[in-house]
């Protein structure tokens, strides 16, 4: 319909507008839910089809959706053709939920879940330090239940395993000798006790889809 004036109606400032609003995470703000979620660090474990390109699909998804991945490890499982990917991520809560759901949509991803706080976590680090003081290096290595892998005239290489905190502490302790090179695997993890980490490793579960929950707490 046409007229001579064009669009009609009260101007923006003359219109009623409610006082409510949402935060940047799209959550409607009421007195009980004022705060934005802070980033938190957690471990996600996924069973995937061990096919070419699966790692690049997972990593590419994280990169293009700006998910912050601290570390990522991949390895075979007890089921032929299935691999486990363990990821340490740091995101505010809705973000962690998003990572899980987006990854669950990838065709090779069979199952994915977030691990509880009591999950068993470990990583391995190789440290190459200056070899001027072999006895002291040996003592520190012992202290952290490490192993000496290589001793040369100039360098000593040791291996340490443990949870993230222990490795951090150990690396600090070795700094006094002068660390030349360091290689960390990143964390890998399994659920505590008899609890299943995520479904998909028991034979016969191949291809069973899982749908992540939709609550975002």
């Amino acid at each position: 319909m046409s007229n001579d004036q064009g669009l009609q109606g009260p101007a923006p400032e003359e219109r009623p507008h409610p006082d409510g609003r949402r935060n940047s995470q799209g959550i409607r703000i009421d007195p009980e839910a004022e705060a934005e979620h802070e980033p938190r660090r957690t471990v996600l474990s996924a069973i995937v089809e061990h096919e070419p390109g699966v790692l690049s699909r997972v990593a590419g998804l994280a990169a293009r959706r700006q998910f912050n991945i601290e570390s990522l490890t991949v390895g075979p499982t007890t089921v032929d053709g299935h691999a486990r990917i363990t990821m340490v991520v740091e995101e505010p809560d809705p973000g962690i939920d998003q990572i899980e759901k987006q990854l669950a949509k990838l065709k090779p991803v069979i199952s994915i879940g977030e691990l509880d706080d009591d999950a068993i976590r470990a990583e391995l680090v190789l440290l190459k330090v200056r070899g001027e003081d072999p006895d002291k290096v040996h003592a520190v290595t012992e202290m952290y239940d490490g192993q000496t892998l290589d001793v040369g005239s100039e360098t000593i290489t040791v291996q340490l395993t443990g949870d993230e905190r222990k490795i951090d502490d150990a690396v600090d302790a070795f700094r006094r000798f002068g660390i030349i090179e360091i290689a960390r695997t990143g964390q890998t993890a399994l659920a505590h006790g008899a609890k299943k980490t995520v479904p998909g490793e028991e034979p016969g579960t191949s291809g069973e889809p899982t749908t992540p929950t939709t609550d975002t707490q």
Binding site: M1, L7, P18, R21, N23, R28, S56, L106, T214
Partner: protein, 586 residues
């Protein structure tokens, strides 16, 4: 699709090429690919020939599948996309390796953003040459991984038919989207007599279609107690074929409806409950309703930023019920207070069955009607001024049947088409929403034409700049003798950019003005189509009538007011309820 007859294993002699075979004999990877397409019911495919895809084309030679050779692979992907939108089944496009595949990319990305089901088949250099930077080699699965639901690199002639069948099924499964199979030439040429098996989407990608009862219950309670309930129908209602359930729910509970742009047509736009579409250039009344609702029932939408404006001011008073088949859309952009994961139609029916009462929303409905009166969609069209583009859209709508399919490019003309055409059915508005691909309109009209019934009209409302981006596809429309009418709203500008430059860049019209356009009517004639040029209001009805009456491709070049702007407008990141009605309100 014709019935399958005996499989090659059961026949002694291969069918001669000159016969009219009803099926493809599986003798190679390529023939098993074509057999998989036939098994899936594919009737039409769009593509462009080239070295690495030649074996597939050779296999198509023996098939009943209609192949439409496009002028450019981008056209093939848009045509397949639009074909799928109108038909409701995945569209199929083909291209060779390297530039063929990369030319498809825009259309694949477009389908991905709009959740349109589509299968792309690309040729690839022979397996042993992959990774050597061979002639026309591109890492196609690498390039398209971010813009497909999933893509496949075919590795064996024996299984390639299964892979193609699975990719086709996956494209249409759950939340639809594009899939791609990359076909190395040796895999296509390799011998096999293995029939593709029954095609299913992979087990890891099958969606949850039946909603959880606790989610349904919570949503039902929230809707029952609402005083200002509002339904928001997105593209998911179209893709999920849930229009009937959605309309029935709105009507039964007398809840006003707004749609997203891809959701246009899910509710008849002339229904009293329908407030048309919301968002940046949506109606004032739809944006007012979004702003004031206390319970937004969103179905099949991903809360795109062009819909929401600034998240902090989006539906600020509303509890959000969000129905979606993709759990990843729940609380991605807007927090869902009541998520319901499942098939749109089933979820709506389940909620309806769970509801004990209809929300008491009489006052709210009256308020919505008041907003309709307060902010009418209108434009100034005095006779002594240049032709208004909105007038052209209304005249076209008036002159065409209700079931007309409308495709568009991207820009001002797209917004006017969406604003001033009254849509009453889904799958009739075919546009590039999420990606915003200029040039989508003409190839989309070709795809839509082949998907629509013969007696249905197909119109492409295009812009001059959009039309120039894929104009070569007019040759296809002529060659294939397709009855489509292209209406160019020609303002000799990339008009939306010019509008933004005037509003936000102090009128510095850098690289937005064409000052000169080809004579599109003459150009159309040179292609072998019919052409008209229209400068005044008086010429509009006759040109439209003649173009629609012409049984073949026609182009009307409407020289419209170059100064006309698209309003209402919610500024980028702004509040929906603060939409501007003119530039001075921005």
């Amino acid at each position: 699709m014709s019935e399958r007859t005996a499989s090659p294993a059961e026949t002694d002699a291969p069918t001669p090429a000159d016969d009219d075979p009803t099926e493809t004999d599986v003798t190679s990877g390529a023939t098993s690919v074509v057999r998989a397409l036939e098994n899936a019911g594919v009737e039409t495919a769009f593509g462009v020939q080239g070295g690495a895809i030649m074996p597939i084309y050779d296999a198509l030679y023996h098939s009943d599948i209609r192949h439409v050779t496009m002028a450019h692979e981008q056209g093939a992907s848009h045509a397949a996309d639009a074909y799928g939108v109108v038909k409701g089944d995945p569209g199929v496009c083909l291209a060779t390796s390297g530039p063929g595949a990369t030319n498809l990319v825009t259309g694949i990305a477009d389908a991905n953003m709009d959740s349109d089901a589509m299968l792309a088949l690309t040729g690839q250099v022979p397996s042993e040459m992959v990774g050597s930077d061979a002639f026309q080699e591109t890492d196609t699965t690498g390039v398209t991984a971010p813009i497909t639901k999933h893509n496949y690199f075919a590795s064996s002639s024996d299984t390639v038919g299964d892979v193609v069948g699975e990719a086709f099924a996956l494209a249409g499964e759950g939340r639809p989207g594009p899939t791609l199979v990359d076909l190395p030439k040796d895999v296509s040429l390799g011998e096999t007599d293995r029939e593709p098996g029954e095609a299913r989407a992979p087990a890891t990608c099958r969606p949850k279609t039946d909603p959880d009862s606790d989610e349904v219950e919570a949503a039902a309670r929230a809707i029952e107690r609402a005083e200002k309930p509002l339904l928001l129908f997105g593209g998911g209602v179209v893709k999920g074929d849930a229009t009937d359930e959605a309309r029935a729910f709105a009507t039964e509970h007398q809840i006003p409806v707004v749609t997203t742009m891809p959701g246009i047509g899910t509710m008849p736009e002339d229904d009293a409950l329908c407030l048309s579409w919301a968002g940046m250039h949506g109606t004032g009344y739809a944006n007012m309703a979004i702003t004031h609702t206390d319970c937004l029932i969103a179905v099949g939408t991903r809360f795109d930023d062009r819909l929401t404006g600034g998240i902090d001011t989006f539906a600020p008073e509303a509890e959000v019920v969000h129905i979606d088949i993709d759990p990843a859309e729940i609380s991605k952009n807007v927090h869902a207070d009541y998520p319901v994961v499942g098939d749109a139609g089933r979820a709506i029916e389940a909620i309806d069955a769970e509801m004990d009462q209809t929300p008491d929303a009489r006052e709210w409905r009256e308020q919505c009607l008041t907003w309709k009166d307060e902010y009418p969609m209108d434009y100034a069209a005095p006779d002594d001024e240049p032709l208004k583009p909105q007038f052209v859209v209304e005249a076209l709508d008036e002159a065409t049947p209700d079931e007309t399919v409308v495709t568009s490019g991207v820009g001002q003309h797209q917004m006017w088409a969406a604003q001033y055409w009254t849509f009453r059915e889904p799958r009739r508005w075919v546009s590039s929403h999420g990606l915003g691909t200029m040039g989508y309109g003409l190839p989309a009209a070709i795809g839509a034409r082949l998907a629509a019934d013969d007696d249905e009209t197909v119109v492409c409302v295009d812009g001059d700049a959009s039309f120039l981006m894929t104009i070569q596809e007019l040759s296809v429309a002529v060659r294939e003798d397709l009855d489509i009418t292209v209406a160019i709203l020609n303002n000799e500008y990339i008009g939306m950019v010019r509008q933004w430059q005037d509003a936000f860049f102090e009128g510095r019209r850098m690289a937005a003005g064409y000052d000169w356009c080809p004579q599109f009517d003459k150009l159309a004639e040179a292609f072998g189509a019919r052409g008209w040029a229209v400068d005044s209001y008086e010429e509009v009805p006759d040109a439209i009538e003649e173009a629609l009456a012409y049984d073949g491709p026609s182009v009307i070049d409407f020289h419209v007011d170059p100064a006309e702007n698209v309003y209402p407008m919610v500024s980028s990141g702004g509040a929906n309820g603060k939409f501007a009605l003119s530039e001075d309100q921005l």
